[in-house]
Every structure is written in C-alpha cells, then in structure tokens.
C-alpha cells in the first residue's frame, strides 16, 4: 500500500519478449507500466502479471512456505505454486492468471528483507529440523505456551498482507438453471456446448482461463479461434470465462465463481444444472528430482503458454526431459523462440535427469552418470493428472491406469453427470471432438428430460407440458487410453508439494513412522493441503507412498477430493448478505424521537427513549404508550375454533362469549411451556389470537400443523395478521381518558368495557380498530390494534391529544421493568426448554379435567410430583444489589438450587426485584437463599409471597373515573410499507409517490391496492366464481386481479377506491355459499410492489432460486418462494407485452424487500416509479 517506485527504469520492451506469435493474446497496441516491488515494468494488455515480469527478465516471484526457497515459474497458469503475489491490498493473487493493468501495484509476498535475500531462507539450511510432523512434535507441551507458539508459527506462514482499512468490495450472487452446465472451455467443452445447444438445451459454459480454447490456444491457434467463434455465435450458450466451477453438490447443485462481471469484484452463481459435463482436460504433472523447484525448472505446458500466448522466451539454453508429444512440441516451440536446446533426455528411450543445480537460478542440469550441462531452463514433460475433483464430488471413484500412468474417472452412477475430453481418455483432436459431440447431445437429452420432469404438474403452467418426443439414446463412443511411461520420481529426492514444501524424503519418513496410507501421510506431512489442493501434487504424493510401502499406486488409491475445487475468496462466498429486517409502521416516529433501537429477532424496536425509569414512572403515574406491533396476531375464522383452542391451550375455551378475552398458555406435547397470549372473540365464528412477539411464526406453524395433520376435518381458517395491525398499548391511570378522547362507537366506561374484554370501533377517525382491555404492566390499559397503514397517524394522535395528560412513549426496557414489578413471566426468559407448566406457576391455568389438550399426560404426571423447580418472586435483602440475570442460587450444601431469571431495579419500589426458578424445597415464601453474583460475592434474597412485587391484588386497573365525552378524529392518510422518496401526492386516501419513470426497468410501490385473502375449497363453487386455481391468475372485467396464491387460497387485488365494495362482496360470497369459506382484508398487512422491464427476470435471478424462464413461470404464473431470504409471493403479470411481476410480502419487511430489489437492480439501471394514479394496476 505504501510502496513507491524507487527508480524509474522504463523499458519499452522486455529483454525476453518475442516477436508476434500466432496464438498470442497480447494487444501490442496497448502498452503500459505497472509496479513490481516499487519498480516500473512494461506490459501489454493481455499479459498476466507474471508473463509481463518474465518478459522483463524476472525469474523469482515468491519464497516457499517452510524453507523460504526462491520460487519461479512452474506451470504459468492459475495453478502455479510459485506465482502468488500481493496486488495492492489484495493478498494471494494468482500472478500467472491475473491480467496486469496499468499502474497496478504488485509486490512479492512474505519475503524479507527482499525477494533475492530472504533472511528466513536460513530455515532451508536447518531443513533437517523441520521434518514432517514438526509442529505436532514440537509445539504440543506445555499447553500454557500455546499463545507463544502461535506467534512463532505465524512468522512461518506465507500469505500476503491484509489491511484493516481495505474498502469493502461489492460481491454479488445469482441463481441459474441451465439444462447443461459444462466445466471447461477447451475443444471438448466447446464441442459439447455446441452439440447441446443445437439440441435445444440452455447451456452454461464455464472456463477458468481468460479465453476459450484450452490447449488448442498454443497447439493450434486457428482451430481454437474457429471453435470459439462458433460458440459465441450459437444461441443458447452463456459463456463465462475467468470463472470456475467450485463444487458439485447433490442433484447437480453447482457453485460457480464468476470474475470480471462489470461493477462487482466476484459473483457466486448457484446453478441447478439439469445435466453436468466435466471437460476439465488434463493437468501436467511435475517430476520429482533434486532441485525440481529451482527457478528455471518448468513444465512443458508452461513454456508453451509463455511462448505462444504471451510471447515470452522462457530462457536461453534448455535441457528437456520429454516422455510425450507435448514435450516434443515444446522443443519445437523453444527452437522457434530462439532457445538453444543443450540436451534432450527422451524418457521413452530411457533418458532421465539426476538433479538441477543452482539456488536462485538454474545453472546446470546433472544427468545420470554425472555429466553436467549448463542451462538456465529445464523443461519436463513426464505425464498428466486428470483433475477428477468435480466428478468425484458426484460419486466417481477414479481408477489407476498403469498403461496411461494416471488415474481415470471410474464412472458415476448419476445419469446426469458426464465427462469428456482429456479427462475421459486419449485420442486425436477429431476423436476427442466426436466424443464431446456425443456427450453434448447425451447431456442435452438428459437435461431436457429433467427439464420436462421439473415442469410436469407445475401449478404455474397454464397447460401440462407436451409429452416428451421419443428420443434416441445417444451412443457415446469409447475413448482409448494412450500408453505413457510411468514417471514420478527420478533417482534423487525432490519436492512433491511446492505449496507446502513437502519433499519425497518427507513422505518416505512419514511412511517409516507408520503413516503408511495416502490419507494418513497427507494429513501428517500436509502434502496436497496447500493452496493448490493437490492438483499438482496428489498423484506424486500417492506414488511416493506407494514407493515407500512397496505397494502399487492402484492399491494405494487416491485421497478424497472435496469442494472447493480451487481457493475462493470469502467475499464471493458471503456474496450480498440477505438479512431481512422488520419495522413497525411507527418506525419513522421512533427514529425522529431518538429511540434507542433494540434488535429483537428480525424486528427493530425502541428499547427506550432515553430514560426507561422515567418511562416506568409515567406509566404508573399518568399514561404511556408503547409500540407492540410485533405481538403475533392470528385471525381465526370458522365454527370449530373452540375445539382448536381447547386442544392447543392448557385452559378452557368452550364458553368464551363474544366481546370477551382470555389469557391462555400453550404447552408442547412434552408439557413444556411453548407460548402464551390472549385470544378474544370478535364474532360468532371470528376470533383474534395473540402470541408472544418471538413466538408469532412458531405458533402459526403449530396451529397449522394440528389443523392440517391431526384435524383436517375441523373448519378453521387461520390468517396471520401480525403486521396487518399496528399495535399500541396505552397504559396508566389516565389511559382511559386518553383513549376516550379519540374513540368513536365504543363505551369505554368500566361498567360497559370491563377487564379482559374486546371491542371494535373507530380510533382517531380510523375504522375497524380492535381494542382489548388487558394489561401486561398492571395498570389500567388498552391495547389498540389499528389497521397498519394508519398506525403512524393514530400514534401521532395519541401523542398530540395526550400532551396535557403527560403521555410519554415507553420502550421495551420500561415494559420489562413494569411487567416484572407486576410479576408477569416471559416465556423463554423465566422459562426454558425444560420448564413444564407447573414450574411456571401456571397451576391455576392447567385444566386436567379437560378430555384432551396438547401435553396433557405430561402435565398430569407433573402435577403428581412434589419435586422439580418453581417460578417464584425474589427480593434481595439488600435492595440496592441487583443480581445479574442467570445468577445461580446456591444451597446450604453448596449445590445449585436454582437461578435468577429476571432482575431489575424497580423505580416504583426503589429496590431490586427478581423472578427466579427455585427448587421446590426452597420455594416457600419467606425462604432466604444465597445468590452467587458474577463477581464471586454472594447476596441473600428472600422468596416473596406473590410473583407480583407491585399491586399483587390487582387494584390498580380498577379505575372507575367517569369517562369524558368522546371526540371524533380525522382518519389521516394511509401509508404503505415503504416511505416514499421524492414528490408525493394523495390517491384514494393514500400517501403515494408521484414520481414518473420511463426507465427500462422500474420498481413501483403498489401498497395501496386492495388485498383480500379468500379461503375456500380448491374445487368448490367459490373457486369457480374466483375463476382461477392455485398457481395461476385471472383478471376480471373491472381490472381486479384474482391470484391463486395457495391450495384453496386466493388473493383478490383491486383498486384502492374499490376497497369497501370488494371486501363486502367477497365476505358476503364467503358467507352465503354452502361450503366453508372466509374472506379476510389484508390491504394493510402486506407490502406490494410491481417490477417491470425486460431485465426483471435477471434481477429476480439475483434474489430468488426460482427458474424465471417463460417455460417455468409464464405470464399469469403465481408462486411463493424465498426472495432475498424473505417469503414472498411472486405474480407474473405482464403489462403491454413487457415482463412484469407483482411482489408481495408481509408488511413489516416491505422496506427491506424494496431496498433489496433496488440493490439487485442497480446493474440494470433500475428506477423508482410512482403510483400510477390514472391506471390503477
């Protein structure tokens, strides 16, 4: 980061740069400079960092891991172990892969004081002290020195530098659904892609390098260019270069990292490939001999890349060890590049080399017999490794072919996984392409069959997909295997793992010490565990184990390849982070009034407004208001609700009258307290159930599970309306007076509206509000449930009209204190996963005389037990000591006798108060117990008579002051889930954005639309009237859109002005029919957006795993899935032949979803569009 050029030695052309080569990838018209360890170096566009440095004559690019040996080029590819460099603030960059750019600041990693004079290279001299297992053997005992060991070891670790002030890059992710995904863009991969696309498959072709072509790029550049051009011209192939398949998981779930996408650092693609073709080619294998890691020793493919792709002369005078055609071709290339060939050792005729001499540079090559040949380049071509990792992840076990001296794929049982090209066998280019063509057609056939199977019965389709045409099985020709000499190690010992500095001698030693299987030797020596993950080293390591044990390679077997195929940045894995957050409609007020936010699950809630104790006093002395919107609310409709309530709650529900509310506790089948809340009866067959805030989702699922799996015959419809209502608790002696000032149509007097009753009425001009008279705080209080779009309006009206009464908002902290003063327990705080009802002081609620309820047998048995724990009130004798929650109670014999579950300082009593779980033997009122405090001290606490510390008799909410005359109010503006940006106006009583956009991709808030949920039999009369089924939509003559949103569930979307008409109409139809049906207004409980534009499917593919191709989700499709980790309804509803979606989620997450869509749409230049006042959809 701080490096500056120390000298400016601009060279217009590197000393080793060749004239223009036929296959070169350089743009000779674009020359520039970059920095290497502070000096400037010239490069052409198309150069990699290393090719530009090599052209300038650099030979050493890094120091090795353990011995700090100088390292140069070996493979000249992304897999080159010696070419990892630091680029700016980015460590561990693959220098032989990363393209160099103008002004790029590149430096060597972990070489001090400089690359050529690394002080730690002394380790190499002391190499005999760093044998395999050195760390295990040395840094084990004593354990107290581990921190010191860590400091020593860190100095040996090679990695670049990480800067804490590095700016965050934008990493992206997207889903893809190709019929065929091909890993590898060489001749076989390209041929397979063309064949598959011509057979009608959607193809994704992934190539790790910067160009398609594979080895043809240096072996036959015109052929590479021609195939590549055919692929580019072919419809249906998405080509990703500089991208790599990281892993293959169950059912062809494939991770791809895509680099070079504009505007993002990297992008993770999660692909569900219907067929998968591995065409990864072959990797050249290094030869093990003394000095095989000296700079100047290279593989034949490395020199061919350097000469043909990057026009770099790799040396002056070369010795070549060749065992195959590639080695022979390298000799031709070297001669063509003007390199003197000093000696050729042909392994096919018994030729070999003994060792390489030199330290920072190759000086000479010693042949068997001792002859030394001066050379600065030693090229080896001794064989191949099939990179079978991706196939192994699909269950393939490679088998060793002694003929070919390499492992070959053993075959996978998955019918949708294929291999072609060099990885599958040997042949001429024509033979390989014939094979790849057949594999491409077979993969297309398999992929298209899977595609049709995935569409069969899909509810989003208007009609069943056509029956598959009878297609012919594709015959895939066999590929042969060419004979190759088995060359692993010469007569000397050398490096096996270049990344980890593990030599063949180390592996022999490990075997002698008993680590005599490939898996054990790998873990003990760490061979194959470096950044290359064994791509170059595994086979040599196995060969060394085989050699040392005297077993064959086939018998030794290979180690397991696991994802990732290649190292991946954490940024790419993290991608865009989706964490839904939920806000109440009053959040703008909380923010404007300095509420301290509390993160409660996904909810952001006011913890306090600066002074919780003052908030408590306001509630006890005057009146306070708290936003309790997160309280779970389930709308229940149907004649069998009492049966349901009797089953799920431990108490009795048969005789709850209309207008009455009851507190209930739910236990699980093991008797453990699961949730609590109040449920009120609003009408004959209409109840509203409330749950704890944190339990809302679980209770809904719990209710559905009993209804769907145990009692499908019961007629009950459950609709979550948690965010359909903004909930406000008005608490305090003056709460009645405040509520009365704003309420119409409800007599609030104590006689008419008693404790534990419910009414519906108009508050601050807003109709259809629900008022409960209940209290968690112990004060007279009313819980107001207001249609959510008017929540902010009602809240502001309460603040305004209560000013003279001393109204004060209070947060969650004040509420916790108030309820603790009153002795109300909180499920999950004062109970845990083992607390059964009788341990939660719920003896009064459990009705064992009911025939059945969930958890009854366990509670019956618990009621007979005299042991276990009890929930009790506790007060420290010294009232100034507030024990920390979870402090333990210690018995006289020093055992744990319970714990403090809730603890606060009570502003009302001026002392500490607690709730605790105590062993039954300690739970008698008046018992004094010892509380172990976190600081080691103990304090004494006394068990109280009641759970309630304040007003145990419950007198405080029996206030009977005369009610003043009610006032009316104006209804105020309805607000959707999204705060409008820019100019606003009003439409049908809603605040809307009036912005107008003509951008190609637009997002618009359609929150004001009327939304009615209709439930009925999937095939009854009402279904007929609704006119569509699950998965599809229909639009009636008035423009009302009916969406088949679930099995037996519909969503009716209409104009805001048609709200009352539509609701009345559908409620009447639901009631009038013969079948059991219901209609619930969800207008205020849902956020609704419209996303329009041709790029909309591409945007959604970044946030949702659904296939948005027309063949899966055509116009008129309706489905529910996860969008940016949020359960969202997606409705395809094209507008004037332009692709358009309605997206619909519960209201409190609306702002989150809106912002997630805008973020995902930025690359498509998405714009906000206002509400279309003229055309209402």
């Amino acid at each position: 980061m701080t490096q500056q050029p120390t000298r400016t030695t601009t060279r217009t052309e590197g000393r080793f740069r060749l004239p223009v080569q036929q296959g070169e990838v350089l743009d000779r018209g674009r020359q520039f400079e970059f920095f290497w360890n502070g000096s400037t170096v010239a490069a052409y566009r198309g150069d990699t960092i290393i090719s530009a440095l090599a052209a300038a004559g650099e030979r050493i690019f890094s120091r090795s891991y353990k011995y700090h040996r100088p390292r140069g080029l070996l493979t000249a590819s992304a897999h080159d172990p010696g070419c990892m460099v630091q680029v700016g603030d980015e460590p561990n960059v693959r220098g032989a892969h990363r393209l160099v750019t103008e002004g790029m600041r590149v430096s060597a990693q972990n070489a001090w004081p400089s690359l050529r004079f690394d002080i730690k290279a002394a380790n190499g001299l002391a190499g005999r002290f760093l044998p395999p297992g050195f760390y295990y053997k040395t840094f084990i005992k004593p354990e107290r020195l581990w921190p010191a060991y860590e400091k020593v070891l860190q100095r040996f670790v090679h990695a670049g530098e990480v800067f804490p002030d590095t700016p965050h890059d934008y990493y992206d992710k997207r889903y893809a659904h190709p019929d065929v995904l091909i890993a590898g863009g060489g001749p076989a991969g390209m041929t397979a892609a063309l064949a598959a696309a011509r057979a009608g498959a959607r193809v994704m072709l992934v190539e790790e390098e910067h160009q398609l072509g594979g080895h043809l790029r240096w072996a036959d550049p015109p052929a590479a260019r021609q195939l590549s051009a055919e692929v580019t011209a072919q419809d249906g192939i998405e080509v990703l270069t500089d991208s790599v398949v990281l892993g293959r998981y169950d059912q062809n779930w494939i991770a791809v990292v895509q680099r070079g996408h504009p505007g993002v650092a990297e992008r993770l693609i999660k692909a569900r490939a219907r067929a998968f073709v591995v065409a990864a080619g072959l990797l050249e294998r290094p030869y093990v001999f003394a000095g095989n890691d000296v700079p100047g020793v290279m593989l034949s493919t490395a020199v061919r890349r350097l000469i043909n792709l990057h026009a770099v002369r790799p040396g002056q005078r070369a010795v070549v060890l060749t065992a195959n055609d590639e080695g022979d071709a390298a000799i031709d290339d070297l001669r063509g590049a003007g390199v003197e060939i000093a000696h050729i050792a042909d392994a096919r005729n018994g030729g070999d080399i003994l060792r390489a001499h030199g330290r920072k540079d190759l000086r000479a090559v010693e042949l068997p017999g001792g002859r030394k040949i001066e050379a600065d380049l030693l090229v080896t071509a001794t064989g191949w490794t099939a990179p079978t990792a991706l196939l192994n992840m699909a269950g393939d076990v490679p088998t060793y072919s002694p003929t070919a001296a390499r492992f070959l794929p053993g075959g996978t049982t998955d019918d949708n996984v294929f291999a072609t090209g060099g990885i599958a066998g040997d042949g001429t280019l024509d033979e390989l392409c014939t094979h790849a063509d057949a594999v491409g057609r077979a993969a297309a056939r398999a992929g298209l069959r899977a595609n049709r199977a995935a569409r069969a019965g899909l509810p989003t389709l208007a009609a069943e997909p056509p029956a598959p045409a009878e297609d012919e099985q594709v015959a895939i020709p066999e590929l042969g295997v060419a004979a190759h000499p088995a060359l692993f190690r010469g007569a000397t010992h050398g490096m096996v793992d270049y990344s980890e500095d593990v030599s063949s001698k180390d592996i022999h030693l490990a075997v002698r010490e008993g680590y005599d299987s490939a898996e054990l030797a790998k873990r003990y020596t760490t061979a194959t565990m470096g950044p290359l993950q064994g791509k170059l080293e595994t086979i040599n390591a196995i060969a060394m184990v085989a050699e040392a044990t005297g077993r064959g390679i086939a018998e030794t077997g290979t180690t397991t390849w696991r994802p990732m195929y290649t190292p991946v940045t954490l940024g790419a894995l993290a991608g865009r982070n989706f964490e839904p957050v939920r806000y109440s409609p009053m959040q703008p007020w909380h923010t404007a009034n300095a509420a301290r936010p509390l993160v409660a699950g996904q909810w952001i809630r006011p913890d306090d407004y600066g002074d919780p104790a003052a908030e408590v006093r306001a509630v006890r002395e005057a009146v306070g208001i708290i936003d309790v919107t997160p309280i779970g609310k389930l709308d229940l409709r149907g004649p069998d609700i009492p049966k349901l309530l009797n089953l799920l709650y431990v108490n009795k529900w048969s005789k709850l009258g209309i207008g009455k509310v009851r507190y209930g506790v739910m236990c699980a089948e093991d008797g453990v307290v699961f949730d609590d809340g109040v449920t009120g009866r609003l009408g004959e067959n209409h109840y509203l159930m409330s749950t704890t805030s944190s339990g809302a989702a679980a209770v809904w699922k719990w209710v559905e599970s009993w209804l769907q799996t145990e009692h499908p015959e019961w007629q009950v419809h459950v609709t979550p309306v948690t965010t359909g209502y903004a909930s406000i608790n008005v608490a305090g002696p003056k709460s009645r007076e405040l509520v009365d000032r704003l309420t119409e149509g409800v007599d609030l007097s104590a006689e008419a509206f008693g404790y534990m009753q419910v009414r519906t009425g108009t508050i601050a001009g807003v109709p259809d509000c629900v008022l409960w008279r209940i209290g968690f705080t112990g004060e007279l209080s009313y819980e107001l449930h207001v249609p959510a779009s008017y929540g902010l309006h009602v809240w502001e009206a309460l603040v305004q009209h209560g000013a003279d009464l001393g109204v004060r908002p209070f947060g969650v902290e004040a509420q916790r204190i108030l309820r603790l003063e009153k002795g109300h327990f909180i499920v999950g705080q004062d109970t845990d996963g083992l607390t059964k009802a009788y341990s939660a002081a719920l003896d009064w609620a459990v009705k064992l005389d009911k025939d059945d309820f969930v958890g009854k047998p366990e509670l019956a048995w618990q009621s007979e037990s005299t042991t276990g724990s009890k929930l009790v009130g506790l007060q420290p004798v010294d009232g100034a000591v507030v024990p920390a929650e979870a402090s333990q109670i210690i018995t006289s014999t020093g055992k744990i006798g319970g714990r403090i579950t809730s603890s606060r300082f009570s502003p009302t009593l001026g002392r500490a108060i607690c709730l605790g779980q105590l062993d039954a033997s300690l739970a008698t009122p008046g018992t004094e117990v010892a509380v172990q405090l976190p600081d080691g001290q103990r304090t004494t606490a006394r068990v109280t008579e009641h759970l309630a510390h304040v007003d145990p008799e419950g007198k405080r909410q029996e206030i009977t002051d005369p009610a003043p005359q009610p006032r009316s109010g104006e209804p105020g503006l309805a607000r959707s889930a999204v705060t409008p940006v820019g100019d606003t106006g009003t439409h049908a009583g809603w605040l809307v954005s009036t912005k107008h956009s003509t951008a190609a991709l637009r997002l618009s808030d359609r929150g004001p639309l009327t939304k009615i949920s209709v439930r009925a039999a999937p095939d009854g009369q009402l279904a007929n009237e609704l006119g569509t089924r699950f998965g599809r939509t229909t639009r009636d003559a008035h423009g009302t859109l009916v969406v088949g949103s679930g099995p037996g569930e519909w969503l009716v979307l209409g104009a805001p002005s048609a709200h009352d008409t539509l609701l009345t109409d559908w409620q009447r139809r639901a009631e009038d029919g013969d079948e059991f049906a219901s209609a619930v207004d969800l207008t205020h409980g849902r956020a609704l957006f419209r996303l329009t534009g041709p790029d909309a499917p591409q945007l959604l593919a970044k946030v949702c795993g659904i296939d948005f191709a027309d063949e899966f989700t055509p116009d008129g499709a309706a489905l529910r899935s996860s969008v940016a980790k949020l359960v969202t309804d997606i409705i395809r509803d094209d507008v004037e032949q332009t692709t358009s979606y309605l997206l619909h989620c519960e209201r409190s997450s609306g702002q989150y979803l809106f912002e997630a869509l805008l973020d995902a749409g930025a690359e498509f230049n998405i714009e906000l569009d206002g509400y279309p006042v003229a055309t209402e959809h």
């Binding site: 169950d250 059912q251 569900r272 569409r455 019965g457 509810p459 699922k701 099995p1047 489905l1119």
Partner: protein
C-alpha cells in the same frame, strides 16, 4: 442442496422447507402410559435407507405433506410412490 418434490408447488430447494421428522401416532392421552407417551415423543426409526417423513413448505404453499426419502442417496419421492428396490 437437494430439491424436494412439493406435492403442490413442484420441485423446490430444501431450504424452503422445514423437516418435521418421521410421523408418529399420538396415543390416547387418557390411557397412555409414560413409556407409550415418551415413545411417541422421542422414539423414531431413524433408518438408513427409505423412510417416510413429514415436511412443511414454510417458504411456499405452507402445507404439511408426507415424503418418502432415501437417507443414503437423498432421493425423495411423494409419499406412496415407491422407488425401485425400496422396501
């Protein structure tokens, strides 16, 4: 990540579902012994191979449904459909 065949929505990624375990028959709460009741609460076959289990499509149709799944290969079929070679 495997896909599961939702009988209502079609194949979806498993992350859209929650696993509810093997179904167990609820004993009569009036007569069940502790052993019977706790067998219902805690004891499942947990088989290696084909098993029947309940799933909840929480991010989709919100229906509970039965599925047959091979716990070795993760092959999943709608309940009632038998795979070749399955018990």
């Amino acid at each position: 990540m495997i896909q599961l065949p939702c009988p209502w929505c079609g194949p979806r990624n498993v992350t859209e579902f929650s696993h509810e375990g093997e179904p167990a028959t609820r004993p009569d709460p009036g007569t069940a012994t502790p052993e019977q009741w706790r067998g219902y609460l805690y004891f499942r076959r947990n088989a290696r191979g084909w098993t029947e289990e309940t799933w909840y499509h929480s991010a989709g149709c919100r229906r509970f449904f039965r599925l047959r799944r091979d716990t070795v290969s993760n092959t999943a079929l709608p309940a009632g459909e038998r795979a070749e070679g399955s018990a």
